[in-house]
C-alpha cells in the first residue's frame, strides 16, 4: 500500500498522456456497455417471458390467421387454464415512419393473462366498457403525447381490414411490470376490428396459461395434435420461443455486436498497451536506479502493472457513468424497436471488469520489460 503514492506520481508524470489513455479506455468501456445494453434489450422480452404461457400460431406462418372456433377446442385441452387471443393490426399512425406495435386483443382475458400490463382500476373499467377504446404504453404515450381521452386514428395497413380509417379513444395509459410486455404498444378491442374486417372471426395468435412450466411441452403438443391435418394446422410453443423468433429476425445480432465489441477491446488494448510501454521506456534510467537501490524486480513489476490497472479502472468508471447517462430512452429514442433500453447493473459490472482486464493485459508486457531490465545497460543508456 505504501507504493500507491509512487504509482499515482508516475501516472501524473505526463498528465496529458494519462488523460488520453484514461479517455480511450473510457470510450471503449462506454461502447462496450452500450452494445451489451442494446443486445440485452433485444433479448429482454424473451428472457422475461412467462414460462407458464404458451402461444399458438398457424403452422404455415404468423401472417396467417385461424378461426375463433379454435378457442373452444384449445380450451378443452387438459392443462389449459386460461386462454386469450390477439391480432396484429398493423395500423399506420399518420405516416409509416411512426411505426409502433398495435394489435387487437380480447380485452378482458388479455389483461387477466398479462398482469404485466398495469392499469388503475378506473382505467381498466373504462377500457373494457368502451368498444372503441384503446390503451397505450407510457413510452408510446410520451413519444406522441397521447393523453387519456385523446382520439387516435389509424390508417389500415393490411387490406383485410378494409380501407376506412379506424378511430380509437385512449382510455388508459399502462405501465409495464416486466419486460415480457413493452411499453411502446397500443391495444384495442378485437371485436371492434372484427366487425369491420372483410373476413370475420379471424385470430392471429392464441395465448394459453398452463399451471406449471413442465406442462408446457405436453400441452403444446396436445393442442397441435388437435388441428393436425385440418386446413388450419397450428404450431404451439412457449412464449419465450415465440418472442425469441422475433429477435432472430434481425439476423445474427449476437455475432455482429459481439465482433464489434471484440474490436473495441482489441483497439483499446493496442492504445493502452502502447502508452504503458512508452512510459516505461521513458523511465528506463529511473527504474534502473530503483533496482540499484535494492527494489526487487517483483515490486517494479507490480508498480508498473498497478499503474496500468489504476488508469484503466478510472477510465472504466468514467465510461460506465457515461453509458448510464446516455443509453436511456429519454436521450436516444428507439421507437419501440428495442423493448428495454438501458444499461443495467450486470452490464456495469461486466464493463468494469473488462476495463480491469484491459489494464492488466496492457500493463503486462511493459511491466515484464521493466522488471527484467539489466541494470548496467539501463544506467549506461541515455534516454
Amino acid at each position: 500500500m505504501k507504493f500507491i503514492n509512487l504509482v499515482l506520481k508516475s501516472a501524473k508524470r505526463s498528465k496529458r498522456r494519462t488523460l488520453l489513455t484514461v479517455m480511450s479506455v473510457a470510450i471503449a468501456v462506454f461502447l462496450f456497455a452500450s452494445l451489451r445494453a442494446v443486445l440485452d434489450g433485444f433479448n429482454a422480452g424473451a428472457e422475461a417471458s412467462s414460462s407458464t404461457r404458451i402461444v399458438t400460431i398457424r403452422s404455415t406462418s404468423l401472417i396467417f390467421s385461424m378461426p375463433t372456433s379454435h378457442a373452444e377446442a384449445i380450451k378443452s385441452t387438459p392443462g389449459v387454464q386460461d386462454i386469450t387471443w390477439a391480432n396484429w393490426f398493423g395500423g399506420i399512425y399518420k405516416d409509416p415512419q411512426n411505426f409502433f406495435a398495435n394489435f387487437a386483443v380480447e380485452p378482458e382475458s388479455y389483461l387477466r393473462m398479462y398482469p404485466e400490463i398495469v392499469l388503475t382500476p378506473e382505467e381498466r373499467k373504462a377500457f373494457l366498457d368502451d368498444r372503441t377504446a384503446c390503451i397505450v404504453g407510457d413510452g408510446l404515450a410520451k413519444r406522441f403525447g397521447f393523453k387519456v381521452g385523446d382520439k387516435i386514428t389509424l390508417q389500415v395497413g393490411i387490406p383485410i381490414y378494409g380501407t376506412q380509417d379506424y378511430d380509437f379513444t385512449v382510455r388508459g395509459i399502462y405501465t409495464s411490470a416486466g419486460a415480457a410486455v413493452d411499453n411502446q404498444s397500443m391495444m384495442f378491442h378485437w371485436k371492434y376490428v372484427d366487425e369491420r374486417s372483410l373476413v370475420k372471426g379471424q385470430v392471429g395468435w392464441y395465448v394459453m396459461q398452463v399451471a406449471h412450466p413442465d406442462q408446457a411441452t405436453q400441452v403444446s403438443m396436445a393442442i397441435d395434435q388437435k388441428f393436425a391435418n385440418s386446413p388450419n394446422e397450428t404450431k404451439t410453443d412457449t412464449e419465450k420461443a415465440f418472442q425469441s423468433s422475433f429477435v432472430s429476425m434481425f439476423g445474427n445480432l449476437n455475432l455482429l455486436l459481439g465482433s464489434i465489441a471484440l474490436a473495441v477491446v482489441i483497439t483499446t488494448l493496442f492504445v493502452a498497451g502502447n502508452t504503458m510501454a512508452m512510459s516505461v521506456r521513458e523511465r528506463t534510467t529511473e527504474i534502473a536506479v530503483m533496482r540499484t537501490l535494492g527494489f526487487p524486480s517483483l515490486t517494479i513489476f507490480l508498480l508498473i502493472a498497478g499503474e496500468g490497472l489504476i488508469m484503466s479502472i478510472v477510465g472504466g468508471i468514467v465510461g460506465v457513468t457515461l453509458a448510464r447517462v446516455v443509453v436511456n430512452p429519454d436521450v436516444i429514442p428507439t421507437g419501440g424497436f428495442i423493448p428495454v433500453f438501458g444499461v443495467n447493473n450486470t452490464n456495469l459490472v461486466t464493463a468494469l471488469a473488462l476495463s480491469a482486464l484491459i489494464g492488466a493485459l496492457a500493463g503486462l508486457i511493459p511491466a515484464t520489460m521493466a522488471s527484467r531490465l539489466k541494470i548496467v545497460d539501463a544506467l549506461r543508456r541515455v534516454a
Partner: protein
C-alpha cells in the same frame, strides 16, 4: 521534402513496436467501419438488383410492400391490354400477376423459424425477370405442385434441397429446380404457380403485377393510363424505385449504427495516435531543434509530422481493409421489415467503400497528429538544442 520525408519515414521504422500498435488500433477501427457498411451495401445491392429498369410493378394505392397489397382479378386483363406492356414471341403480354405469402421455415444456422417469402407467379414471370437463371433442375411446370427455390434460400433454410417435398398451405410441393438472380432478393424466395397457390392459401386475388414495358421510356404513359382508369385503385412504380425504397429504412439504420459506433471508436484510436505522436515529438526534440537550426521552417516541421502521422494511420487503414476483406461475399440475412420477410444477402465490400475506409484512417491520422505537430514546430530552437 526529400531529407525531411525520409527522416520521418525512418523514425517511424525505428519505433516499430509503437508504430505497429498505433497502426493496429486504427486498423481495428477501419475494419469495423468497412464491415458494418459492407452489410448496408450488401443489403441494398440485393434489393436494388431485384428491380429491372425496364419493368414496372403495380400495387394497391398506399401499399408499401407486396405483402400488404391487393390486385383484384378483374384488374389483370385491363393492365395486360395496355399498349405499353411488351409482348412475347407468342404475342402474349409479358406480365406476371403474383401472390406473395410468408411461410415459416427453420434456418440452417440456428433452427429458428424464419419468414420465407413464397411467390406465386404467372408463366411469363421468367421472361419478365430476365436475370433469373436455373442452375440446377428445371422450371416448375405450370398447373403442378412444383416449386423452384432461390439459391440463397437453399443455403439459408432447411428442407429445400432439390427433390424434397415442402409442406405449406395445406399441401405438399416438390422442389424441381434451383435458380439464381444476380444475388437479388428473389434468390431468398420460393416460386410456384400462382393459380395453385391462391387456393392453397385461401386467397382470391393477386397482390402485385409486374410487367415488362415495351420500352423503359414508356413508364410515364403507363402510369398515366393506370391512374386515369376509374376502375383501378392501383399505383404503378418503376420496379427499381420500389426495391430501392424497400431497402431504405434498413440501410439507413445499419449506416447510422455503423457510423455511430466507428466514430466513437475512432476517438479512442485518435487518442492513441496522439499519444504516439506526442511521444515521437518528445523523443526527437533535439533533432527538431537541429532541423530548425538548419533552416527548416516551422510550417515544414508541422507538415512533416502531420505527414508522418497520416502515413502511420494509412498503414493502419490498409491493414484494416485487408482484415475486413474476408467477409466479402459471406452470406447472411436479415428481415426486410417493410415486407416482413427474411432476405439473404452477401457482405459487399466495394472499392469505394475501401477508399472510404482509407480516407477515414487518414482523417484519424491528421486529427491525432495535428496537435503534436504544432507542438514540434513551436519548440524554441535554443532550448531544444540544449536538451539531452
Amino acid at each position: 521534402m526529400g531529407l525531411i520525408g525520409s527522416y520521418n519515414l525512418r523514425s517511424m521504422i525505428v519505433r516499430k513496436a509503437t508504430a505497429a500498435m498505433t497502426a493496429g488500433g486504427i486498423a481495428m477501427v477501419v475494419a469495423v467501419f468497412v464491415m458494418t457498411l459492407a452489410i448496408a451495401q450488401g443489403f441494398r445491392a440485393t434489393l436494388v438488383a431485384s428491380g429491372s429498369p425496364g419493368n414496372a410493378i403495380v400495387l394497391r394505392k398506399g401499399a408499401t410492400a407486396e405483402t400488404v397489397s391487393a390486385v383484384l382479378r378483374p384488374d389483370v386483363p385491363i393492365i395486360e391490354s395496355l399498349p405499353q406492356v411488351a409482348r412475347g414471341a407468342d404475342g402474349r403480354p409479358l406480365a406476371s400477376s403474383e401472390l406473395v405469402v410468408i411461410i415459416a421455415l427453420p434456418r440452417q444456422t440456428d433452427n429458428q423459424p424464419a419468414n420465407v417469402p413464397v411467390r406465386g407467379v404467372s408463366p411469363k414471370a421468367f421472361e419478365v425477370r430476365e436475370s433469373l437463371a436455373m442452375v440446377d433442375g428445371r422450371r416448375f411446370a405450370p398447373g403442378t405442385r412444383e416449386i423452384n427455390v432461390g439459391r440463397l434460400a437453399l443455403g439459408r433454410f432447411k428442407g429445400l434441397a432439390l427433390g424434397s417435398d415442402v409442406k405449406f398451405g395445406a399441401a405438399s410441393w416438390k422442389v424441381v429446380g434451383v435458380f439464381t438472380a444476380d444475388d437479388a432478393a428473389f434468390e431468398s424466395e420460393l416460386w410456384g404457380d400462382v393459380d395453385l397457390m391462391m387456393p392453397a392459401f385461401q386467397r382470391d386475388g393477386y397482390q402485385s403485377m409486374t410487367v415488362k414495358l415495351a420500352d423503359p421510356s414508356m413508364f410515364d404513359s403507363f402510369r398515366a393510363a393506370i391512374e386515369g382508369d376509374q376502375r383501378l385503385y392501383l399505383k404503378p412504380q418503376r420496379e427499381q424505385d420500389y426495391y430501392a425504397e424497400q431497402s431504405q429504412a434498413m440501410t439507413t439504420v445499419i449506416r447510422v449504427f455503423g457510423t455511430f459506433v466507428t466514430l466513437i471508436l475512432s476517438i479512442g484510436a485518435v487518442f492513441g495516435a496522439m499519444n504516439t505522436m506526442y511521444a515521437a515529438v518528445a523523443y526527437r526534440t533535439r533533432e527538431i531543434g537541429t532541423l530548425r537550426a538548419l533552416g527548416f521552417s516551422r510550417i515544414r516541421i508541422v507538415t512533416a509530422f502531420l505527414a508522418e502521422s497520416i502515413a502511420l494511420a494509412l498503414v493502419g487503414g490498409v491493414i484494416g481493409c485487408i482484415l475486413a476483406l474476408p467477409v466479402h461475399g459471406l452470406s447472411t440475412g436479415t428481415t426486410n421489415f417493410t415486407s416482413f420477410s427474411e432476405v439473404a444477402f452477401k457482405f459487399r465490400i466495394t472499392p469505394a467503400l475501401m477508399a472510404g475506409g482509407l480516407i477515414f484512417s487518414a482523417v484519424m491520422g491528421a486529427v491525432g497528429g495535428l496537435l503534436p505537430a504544432i507542438r514540434a514546430a513551436r519548440i524554441p530552437v535554443a532550448r531544444a538544442l540544449r536538451e539531452i
